[in-house]
């Protein structure tokens, strides 16, 4: 589903430039539950931004779902993000003026999904993440863990091919982290949604099917684990 070939990303200003990703090659298949691990500054977030089509590589080719996306314009990239990619951000990034249900519906509305259908699907997704009874609460009325669950619900409600999660557990306590990971793992197994995380949290890495270790913008280790067989109850 994801094929990165010789990807480079260089950030530069007038005075200096920083080579963040160096000749990076990566392939991710449908249904994987993959973590990109590495210390701070290793390029995890940059790589995830490129994979999530939020940013463009300085050079190299990127094929997403069989389509070369390197030369698409901003609106075309937005269309792919909306239709095929779900995002979970470290800082939750919910719309503060929308309720949990409305936040969950938002992407589907951008996709022009029929109002009845999207309302029902959003409700079902919120129930699935265990927040059905909080549907009318605004983000400020929810805990950090609950907000991140709403963010997950928002990411998966539109039924994307890929969910990109950048340090999703960074702001959560251990109970919320375990609960969120259980949720994402079950969604991966039951719905076949591909999950791609960036994290240096060992609890996240332990749950992954595959761990791609990044250091100084290069993949230094790519390990498949036996977590595929692990059964998790939500």
């Amino acid at each position: 589903m994801i094929k990165l070939n010789q990807i480079n990303k260089i950030f530069s200003d007038k005075h200096q430039s920083f080579h963040c990703l160096k000749d990076l090659n990566l392939e991710v298949k449908q249904g994987e539950f993959t973590v990109i691990a590495g210390p701070s500054g290793s390029g995890k977030s940059t790589l995830l931004n490129i994979i999530g089509l939020l940013d463009k590589p300085s050079s190299g080719s990127y094929e997403f779902d069989g389509q070369n996306v390197a030369k698409l314009n901003n609106n075309q990239l937005a269309d792919i993000r909306r239709e095929k990619i779900g995002f979970v951000f470290q800082a939750y990034n919910l719309m503060p003026v929308l309720t949990a249900l409305e936040n969950t519906e938002m992407i589907m509305e951008f996709c022009n999904v029929d109002k009845k259908v999207r309302r029902q699907r959003a409700m079902e997704t919120l129930e699935a993440v265990g927040l059905g009874e909080f549907k009318n609460r605004f983000p400020a009325q929810l805990s950090g863990g609950q907000q991140q669950r709403v963010a997950v619900a928002r990411a998966i409600a539109a039924q994307p091919l890929l969910v990109v999660a950048d340090e999703p557990t960074a702001n959560l306590d251990s109970h919320s982290t375990e609960s969120l990971l259980d949720l994402m793992q079950s969604l991966n197994q039951e719905l076949g949604v591909t999950f791609l995380f960036s994290s240096h949290d060992p609890r996240v890495i332990d749950r992954a099917h595959r761990v791609v270790h990044l250091q100084d913008g290069q993949i230094v280790k790519d390990v498949c684990t036996n977590n595929n067989d692990q059964q998790v109850a939500v």
Partner: protein, 418 residues
């Protein structure tokens, strides 16, 4: 969803939105109020101006304007009046004969302008010697129609002139003029029929009116008049077109709209209207700055939200629409309240009037016209609609750049923690 987002974002910072709204409401309602009073004032000034010995349109001999001598009079005024009525049935023509004269009573004498008028018609259109203006005695028309026997023809004079001449109703005064023949001075005695008060020094001190036939006889200009003043029931708005149309029909005559015939009045109205336009400009700037400030503050604080929306797949136009809608809702709400308040104020002043004498303690004069004690607000629907539309368009224009910028935020910012 974008409507919900826009509305809730406005309510997100209630104090800021309310403050901006209040500024717009206040500025816009005041603008409507002043617009109505200003237009009402202009209308009153023009109405009074044209009734103070003027007219909506003046028809005169082509050389009379430069040299108002008795050799430059109009012949056969009745025939000309009929021709003018035939061109436009809404016209009321009034013939007038004017000349310099010396008025004497006892040992007092004053040089003034004597106006020969058709008393019956003049009473309907003029404010100089109509029933309201007469403070003692009666109008020329009433004097002529009265059953009392009068030795002499009547004359109406200004209140100050009456004081200066030390005359009262029923007293005899002598009018001395130089006749058209250029011979000896001609004199005639008149009985003071009425004393008028317009509040204008020039008229109250140096103006008198007598029946036109008497003045024609005295000046030896039978069947001749200085001018025919035209009053139109269509109002004062389209006078210039009327004058142009009449000029085309009567090319040998000098046909002047009141704007040309009374340039000082026209200047006063134009100057006041310019002041009003300046006020409108200030209101437009206040509204634009108010909206722009709110939008800028709001968008500046929500840059990450816009990035997040774009990251989640919203198109740039969707994000821009949210920002535009916020400004449109704020503007529409404020304009509606401002319009309602302004119209309420307009209704009050349109029915009750604004008592200038009560406010300023004295009557006011502008452009050679004594303004009425009360001004009544007048609003033109077109002007009002244009103002609302202009403010609305202005709202969209000032919001356009922040809205476009919001839609072009980088989605990468959404993934940054703060």
């Amino acid at each position: 969803m974008i409507h919900k987002l826009a509305l809730r974002n406005l309510l997100r910072n209630k104090r800021r939105s309310l403050l901006t709204s209040l500024i717009i409401v206040f500025a816009f309602s005041m603008m409507i109020l002043f617009m109505g009073l200003s237009d009402g004032g202009h209308k009153a000034m023009i109405d009074i101006g044209v009734r103070m010995g003027l007219g909506h349109v003046i028809v005169q001999h082509p050389e009379y304007r430069d040299d108002p001598a008795l050799s430059h009079l109009l012949d056969n005024p009745e025939q000309l009046k009929q021709q003018l009525i035939d061109t436009d049935k809404r016209l009321t023509p009034v013939a007038r004969l004017r000349s310099d004269a010396l008025i004497q009573a006892g040992r007092h004498g004053v040089a003034l302008t004597i106006s020969g008028v058709e008393p019956e018609i003049e009473a309907q259109v003029s404010a100089i010697a109509d029933k309201k203006a007469i403070v003692q005695g009666q109008t020329l028309a009433a004097f002529a129609n009265s059953t009392d026997l009068h030795r002499l023809s009547g004359i109406v004079i200004g209140e100050t002139l009456a004081k200066n001449l030390e005359v009262r109703i029923g007293d005899t005064i002598t009018l001395t003029v130089k006749p058209a023949s250029g011979g000896d001075l001609a004199r005639s005695a008149f009985e003071v029929a009425g004393i008028f008060k317009t509040g204008l020094h020039e008229l109250d001190t140096f103006w008198a009116e007598v029946p036109i036939q008497d003045l024609q006889a005295l000046l030896e200009v039978p069947n001749q008049v200085s001018q025919i003043a035209l009053y139109t029931s269509a109002g004062s708005d389209n006078v210039a077109q009327l004058a142009t149309a009449l000029t085309a029909q009567f090319p040998t005559l000098d046909i002047l709209p009141w704007q040309t015939a009374a340039p000082e009045l026209y200047s006063a109205v134009t100057l006041d209207a310019a002041g009003m336009y300046l006020l409108m400009l200030i209101v437009y700037v206040v509204v634009a700055v108010g909206i722009l400030n709110t939008v800028l503050m709001s968008t500046f604080r929500r840059q990450k939200e816009f990035s997040m929306m774009i990251a989640l797949g919203a198109r740039a136009s969707t994000v821009s629409k949210v920002v535009l809608l916020e400004a449109i809702y704020l503007s529409a709400f404020s304009l509606t309240i401002g319009l309602a308040l302004g119209l309420w104020g307009h209704h009050h002043f349109a029915t009750q009037g604004l008592d200038f004498k009560e406010v300023f303690g004295t009557a006011m004069e502008a452009g050679g016209v004594l303004l009425p004690e009360k001004f009544y607000s007048t609003l033109e629907a077109n002007k009002l609609s244009l103002s609302v539309l202009f403010v609305f368009v202005l709202t969209i224009l000032v919001t356009l750049i922040p809205a476009i910028r919001a839609g072009h935020r980088s989605p990468v910012a959404a993934s940054q923690e703060s």
